[in-house]
């Protein structure tokens, strides 16, 4: 049985959600309105409806995926390659999905991490958590050394030079950076609403900005308040360079908010493409150097801020990779 009328009808049934819904609700009425012959009409009325709904759902998911990725390939092929997520879910993805998919914990965790006899996943998870804790300990040791031995001498050394770079504070103040990141997020949301999709790079950029803002907020309102270390300017004017626990404010110095901002932003991209690690590390180093030379922060602030920011960024990058890997095919 074959006619262009029937093919058109089936194609519409497959791709047009409203038409399909009308057909499911009242197949006879919709079929009658399509000027099909008797045999075609009978065939249409006998259609496999659960199969139709499942096939349409699968098709729609593929079309969404192809639309989003296809357009980004046309617009920014190099960026798409640059930030293409890793092939498989990382260990942190398993952990994140385990804690975020409350209704499907056991299956979801097994799906992304322990299927296929991959018993090494748990070992890998333990290894990665172990590496992170070792890094935390190493970072704490470095921070302790810098705090005791290097912070104040370095700040004194750059005190005169800092006037030269002070004007940068106007251009790269936290408020300016946060506003720019908010604008980027808003732009990506608007593009998503208007066009129906955004490029993979756009998604990553939005996630990086969002992570950066969140990490900055946590740093300013929790960590800085917790540690309460006076900033270099206050120290130069007589304050003691010491931890004053739970007595800090947003103006406290430790950890550096700018490095948390930059580190979280960079961490997302670093997690998703190894090629970006070196260039972004160089930019982070430049930012850290400017913060120290300009006497906005002590060395220990910069190290701690970088560690916290990159950790947050990598975690967010893992979450995004996990989301991509869990999309329906």
């Amino acid at each position: 049985m074959h006619s262009s009328r029937l093919e058109t009808f089936l194609a519409r049934l497959f791709t047009d959600a409203e038409f399909r819904e009308a057909f499911i609700n009242d197949a006879r009425q919709v079929a009658d309105a399509q000027s099909l012959d008797a045999a075609e009409r009978d065939a249409v009325l006998a259609i496999d409806r659960p199969g139709l709904l499942l096939a349409a759902r699968s098709f729609a998911a593929k079309r969404r995926d192809t639309g989003a990725r296809g357009s980004s390939r046309r617009l920014r092929p190099r960026w798409r390659q640059l930030i293409r997520p890793p092939a498989g879910p990382g260990t942190a993805s398993c952990l994140l999905q385990f804690f975020t998919c409350a209704d499907q914990r056991s299956t979801r965790f097994r799906d992304v991490g322990l299927r296929n006899g991959d018993s090494l996943s748990v070992k890998r998870l333990i290894i990665i958590i172990g590496i992170w804790f070792l890094s935390l300990v190493a970072c704490a040791a470095v921070v302790a050394f810098l705090f005791v031995r290097m912070d104040v001498p370095t700040a004194l050394h750059f005190w005169k030079v800092s006037r030269v770079v002070k004007p940068l504070n106007g251009a790269f103040g936290a408020a300016i950076v946060l506003s720019a990141e908010s604008a980027v997020i808003l732009a990506t949301v608007l593009v998503r609403l208007v066009r129906g999709h955004i490029s993979v790079f756009g998604e990553t950029l939005a996630i990086a900005c969002l992570t950066s803002i969140c990490a900055y907020g946590i740093n300013s309102h929790v960590l800085k308040v917790l540690f309460g270390v006076p900033n270099p300017t206050d120290v130069m004017h007589g304050a003691t360079h010491n931890f004053i626990f739970w007595m800090g404010s947003e103006n406290s110095s430790f950890p550096s908010g700018h490095m948390v901002l930059a580190g979280a932003f960079a961490g997302v991209f670093m997690r998703l493409n190894r090629a970006s690690i070196w260039p972004l590390s160089a930019l982070l180093l430049l930012a850290a150097g400017l913060l120290i030379v300009g006497d906005w922060h002590f060395l220990s602030d910069v190290v701690a801020g970088t560690f916290f920011g990159i950790s947050a960024g990598i975690l967010a990058g893992e979450g995004w990779a996990a989301h991509l890997n869990s999309e329906p095919s």
């Binding site: 259609i47 199969g51 499942l54 096939a55 699968s58 498989g88 890997n325």
Partner: protein, 168 residues
């Protein structure tokens, strides 16, 4: 080798059909004069989804035309449920899961009956497991094919040589 025709997986029974799938595939390959790329997971999914016994379903395909074999995995998805009844589940061929055991059994049966040289391709498009797990699936495919070939040795002479490739 020139182009080949592949059998597809479908979640819905093709409406307004005057032939079933094996008849249609046989007619197409005969008319086009091309070899058949037999996707065993597609075949298995269609058999499961539409109430056929997979091995019997395989036997109805033109096995003498098969030159390439695809194996892959899929996932069961739930469809809408009628009031008071459990949801209807269908097997979706998604290339994101391991090759299920019945597909190896089908490969074994195919190896026993197909007279041609076969190239077997393991398809995997995402959620990649460790490389060792993929290699294990290839090893199982080789073993299944070898078992099938051994069983078929009593049949008329033919060329027996296989390649196994990994494609993503």
């Amino acid at each position: 080798m020139g182009p080949a025709v592949e059998n597809i997986a479908t979640l819905m029974a093709p409406p307004a059909s005057s032939m079933d799938e094996p008849e249609w595939v046989a007619a197409i390959t005969a008319a086009a004069g091309t070899p058949l790329l037999l996707d065993l997971h597609n075949l298995y999914a269609n058999a499961v989804n539409f109430g056929h016994e997979p091995l019997a379903y395989l036997m109805r395909f033109p096995l003498q035309q098969v030159a390439i074999v695809h194996i892959s995995g899929g996932v069961r998805i739930d469809g809408p449920a009628a009031p008071g009844e459990p949801p209807i589940a269908r097997l979706l061929d998604d290339h994101l899961h391991d090759v299920p055991d019945p597909v190896y059994h089908l490969l074994e049966a195919l190896g026993e009956r197909c007279p041609r040289l076969l190239t077997v391709v393991l398809e995997r498009d995402g959620r990649f497991p460790a490389m060792g797990a993929l290699m294990d699936q290839l090893r199982r495919a080789r073993a299944a094919l070898a078992t099938g070939r051994a069983r078929g040795l009593r049949r008329p002479q033919r060329q027996v040589s296989e390649h196994a490739l990994l494609a993503t």
